[in-house]
């Protein structure tokens, strides 16, 4: 039975050896030699230092293409034209499935045809040497961003390859990203990743770890996201991780977003041991985008404004082409600059919003309910508690594709646009908190003169792409995606 305990040196080594056999490039991984490589990197490529010592929110985009040279010029563009502070390397979907063979095929196709036949950079296939070439040629810290449930080989290769930051975690890269993986298994896999990060850290090479806060990106209630961040943070800290960036995805209500980021920071510092340096990352709206670049810029603008008020340590930006598909590098850089302009115009302003404290208090209480439930489910062990809590539905994520989550919780916006919970399933929450949500949603239902139903949830899912925050019923059914109102009832 998996428990939240530190892997021993032996276990680490055993897994390490086994995992490196999964693909030929694994054999090039050599821990001692990798430490030496990291030590040779200049200060401005040391991810954790750059992030933790910044005096304003740093910006980071998402970006990954199959071939090395293309990835270099993509990142150079985002660094130069986009003025990104931190760079990403987004991994392709085959690698996420550990299908290195298919990734190899895609990579070779891409090399021949010049087409982007993979939706990211197959770092395992590029191997330690390829990764280092990337790190050497690009002049800023780079993080591995992926969505891989079993990221062990990816971590082994990319850490040795010079990357000093690694996104994901056993829950956040399981529940939103897979159908069948069990949590027991992903927790075990990520214990290795975190232990490996810890081993580097102990040798003076800090590997920053970043649990994926937005989860399904779709109306995730803040307390659910924060609880999962705390769990992943605790699991990582146990394995020796000392630089943790906890994430949160914008929901679009400014007060709620600011409150959530504050709650995340506060609870992160409270729940995680003192030795851990906790930073926060704010993801610009992760749900469906408007199918129009001008409107998408409005969504990005709200993200920038919110970031300027909440002041997270890092912001993951979106591009105006988010709706359509993987953005061009120009569009990606544009999203960075729009965000930068907004942050820099607003960040020096002393903006204090009414109601943030109350909302923050509510989010904190909700999060504590969930954390207490996890604690209770696991008899004090957070690994076991998480597994059991998901099993019972005490912990749940809306729109989770994974069999490991009930997916019974349904969110909807209240009359002010804050994300509340409409269908609780078995979520572990005090009754008086449920009552608050119920009352807020009742207000909305009354405003709209309709009952709370899945229809409301569906309308909220489409609202931002349709140009609004709240999915109000419309009489006008002509306009694209909000059609159906009159007929699907």
């Amino acid at each position: 039975m998996i428990r939240d305990e530190r892997l021993t040196a032996d276990e680490l080594q055993r897994i390490d050896e086994r995992i490196r056999d999964d693909w030929p490039t694994g054999s090039a991984v050599d821990f001692e030699e990798a430490i030496a490589y990291h030590e040779s990197l200049p200060a401005h490529k040391q991810f954790a230092d750059v992030l933790e010592s910044a005096d304003r929110p740093l910006l980071q985009p998402r970006a990954g293409v199959p071939c090395l040279d293309d990835q270099v010029s993509l990142l150079e563009h985002l660094h130069g034209e986009g003025a990104a502070d931190l760079l990403p390397t987004t991994i392709d979907s085959y690698t996420r499935d550990n299908e290195y063979g298919k990734a190899q095929e895609g990579l070779e196709n891409a090399r021949e045809s010049g087409d982007a036949t993979l939706n990211g950079f197959p770092a395992v296939n590029h191997g330690v040497e390829g990764c280092r070439e990337l790190v050497d040629r690009v002049d800023a810290p780079i993080e591995v961003r992926h969505g891989t449930p079993d990221a062990r080989l990816l971590a082994a290769v990319t850490f040795a390859g010079g990357f000093q930051s690694f996104e994901g975690g056993p829950i956040s890269y399981n529940i939103p990203y897979t159908k069948e993986g069990s949590l027991a298994q992903t927790i075990e896999h990520w214990q290795y990743v975190d232990r490996l990060a810890g081993a580097y850290t102990e040798r003076g090479v800090t590997i920053n770890r970043e649990p994926f806060g937005p989860l399904t990106g779709t109306l995730v209630p803040p307390s659910i996201a924060i609880a999962i961040m705390l769990v992943e943070g605790k699991l990582a800290a146990t394995q020796g991780v000392r630089s943790l960036t906890l994430g949160y995805g914008q929901v679009g209500n400014v007060v709620q977003d600011v409150a959530a980021l504050r709650a995340l920071r506060k609870l992160g510092n409270e729940y995680l041991r003192d030795e851990v340096c906790v930073t926060t990352v704010f993801h610009e709206w992760m749900g469906g985008f408007p199918p129009d670049e001008a409107r998408a810029n409005g969504v990005i603008g709200l993200g920038g404004t919110t970031a300027a008020i909440a002041r997270p340590d890092k912001v993951i930006t979106k591009s105006p082409q988010e709706f359509q598909g993987v953005p061009t590098k120009e569009a990606n850089a544009a999203g960075l600059r729009t965000t930068r302009q907004l942050i820099d115009m607003v960040v020096e302003q002393d903006i204090v919003l009414d109601g943030v404290d109350e909302e923050q208090a509510l989010i904190e209480r909700e999060t504590r309910c969930l954390m207490d439930a996890i604690e209770a489910h696991g008899d004090g062990d957070v690994a076991q508690g998480t597994i059991e809590a998901f099993e019972s539905g005490a912990l749940d994520v809306p729109f989770a594709p994974s069999d490991a989550a009930e997916g019974a919780v349904l969110p909807a916006r209240d009359d002010d646009g804050r994300v509340r919970i409409f269908e609780w399933g078995e979520l572990a929450m005090d009754d008086d908190i449920k009552e608050i949500h119920r009352a807020r949603l009742a207000d909305r239902a009354e405003t709209e003169g309709r009952k709370q139903s899945f229809r409301m949830v569906a309308d909220d899912v489409d609202a931002i792409s349709d140009g609004k925050l709240i999915g109000r019923p419309t009489s006008d059914t002509g306009g694209g995606r909000d059609g159906g109102e009159t007929r699907a009832d």
């Binding site: 979907s93 939706n119 594709p401 909000d482």
Partner: protein
């Protein structure tokens, strides 16, 4: 709209192909199609070609709706229609979502997937209502057609 209004229940298979985990679109489609009276068999995300084919034949489906968002649809659908033919599954097939990697021209994408054998190809701006209307037309569900005409007249 009640189920009873159809002469016989129309069954559609719905799922996300390949290793794609984008579930929100099919969740919305499932809800809208069910509300409109279809029998929806939702296979969820990360569904293989074989699972689609098996479900279609098991439920004697009228249509198979394949969703793909993550940009690998073309690879994931290679040989799908050949498989359906081998399994003697004769259904209307739709594919929809974000079908190409990057900022592609949709007309080109449509051609690609029509060539792969799909009867219709939908982009990610597709509202559930359009899917319902299109299924009605393609599956010849006349009660609703008539009603639609009335409503729009």
């Amino acid at each position: 709209m009640q189920l009873g209004e159809y002469c016989m229940p129309t069954t559609v298979i719905l799922g996300v192909i390949g290793s794609d985990a984008h579930v929100v679109g099919i969740t919305i489609l499932d809800q809208a199609l069910s509300a409109a009276g279809f029998d929806v068999e939702n296979l969820g995300v990360q569904t293989s070609q074989e699972e689609f084919a098996a479900a279609a034949s098991e439920h004697d489906a009228d249509a198979v709706l394949v969703s793909s968002l993550y940009g690998h649809a073309e690879q994931d659908c290679q040989g799908f229609h050949e498989l359906l033919a081998r399994e003697e599954v004769d259904v209307t097939t739709y594919i929809g979502g974000n079908l190409a990697v990057g900022q592609d021209d949709f007309e080109q994408t449509r051609t690609t997937f029509r060539k792969l054998g799909f009867d219709k190809v939908f982009d990610s701006e597709t509202a559930p209502e359009e899917v319902i209307r299109s299924l009605e037309r393609d599956l010849g569900i006349s009660t609703r057609e008539a009603e639609t005409d009335r409503v729009q007249a």
